[in-house]
């Protein structure tokens, strides 16, 4: 088990009703972590429409979880 901080933005934050939370997880990778949190919060967006970042840099869904890291799920962007 590792403890990580998860950040939510835009529609994911609305669905989770929090901007961030501390999560204890034994997920094999970032993709599995998203799926478990999707089950808990009912996120509408499937994984193939998101990107993921760890500690402020884009990461891969197949990356493992590191103790104490900050993980952000990035919904499709709409700036400009």
């Amino acid at each position: 088990m590792v403890r990580v901080t998860v950040l939510y933005f835009a529609s994911l934050r609305d669905a989770a009703a929090v901007a961030s939370e501390s999560v204890e997880s034994d997920a094999a990778d970032l993709g599995a972590l998203y799926e478990s949190l999707r089950g808990r919060h009912g996120f509408a967006l499937p994984i193939n429409r998101l990107r993921v970042a760890v500690d402020g840099a884009f990461a891969r869904w197949s990356d493992g979880l590191r103790e104490g890291s900050e993980i952000a799920f990035i919904p499709p962007v709409s700036g400009g």
């Binding site: 529609s11 962007v77 709409s78």
Partner: protein, 139 residues
């Protein structure tokens, strides 16, 4: 030096343009994105931008670095608003200086397209009929 910035307040464009003045530059191109009163057939009253600030600034800076590599330009800047905006407000500003106009136009286009496509910034629109929602475009 930081070339990309997020701003939670309205900003003036004259100082931004002045910062790009350069004896080597014969051309300046800029792009302004404004908040419009409609989207996808719905009337819009206003909007809010939210960003993952650390990553948006890093990615925005990367886009500007790329523009400086790809095009024969002297310098470039981009500022994107976050927070609540009203119809007509300036949402994003891009400015590019170059020796010649072709590179200035091309780099300006590249910067706005890439920032829109990559920087983690999200638009929350308030519709005239009372609903509101996040935009998560398909592409």
């Amino acid at each position: 030096m930081k070339r990309f910035n997020l701003s939670d307040k309205p900003f003036g464009i004259v100082p931004l343009r002045d910062a790009l003045l350069d004896a080597h530059a014969g051309a300046f191109a800029s792009f302004e994105g404004w908040v419009r009163d409609h989207n996808d057939g719905r009337a819009v009253n206003g909007l809010r931008y939210e960003a993952y600030a650390a990553l948006a600034e890093a990615e925005g800076e990367r886009v500007l670095d790329e523009a400086l590599e790809k095009f024969e330009i002297v310098d470039a800047r981009c500022i994107h608003r976050i927070g609540d905006l009203a119809i007509g407000d300036l949402a994003v500003w891009v400015g590019v200086s170059a020796a010649h106009r072709d590179a200035a136009f091309a780099a300006c286009r590249y910067i706005i397209d890439e920032v829109k496509g990559r920087a983690p910034i999200w638009k929350h629109e308030r519709y005239a009929e009372g609903e509101a929602g996040w935009l998560h475009p398909e592409n």
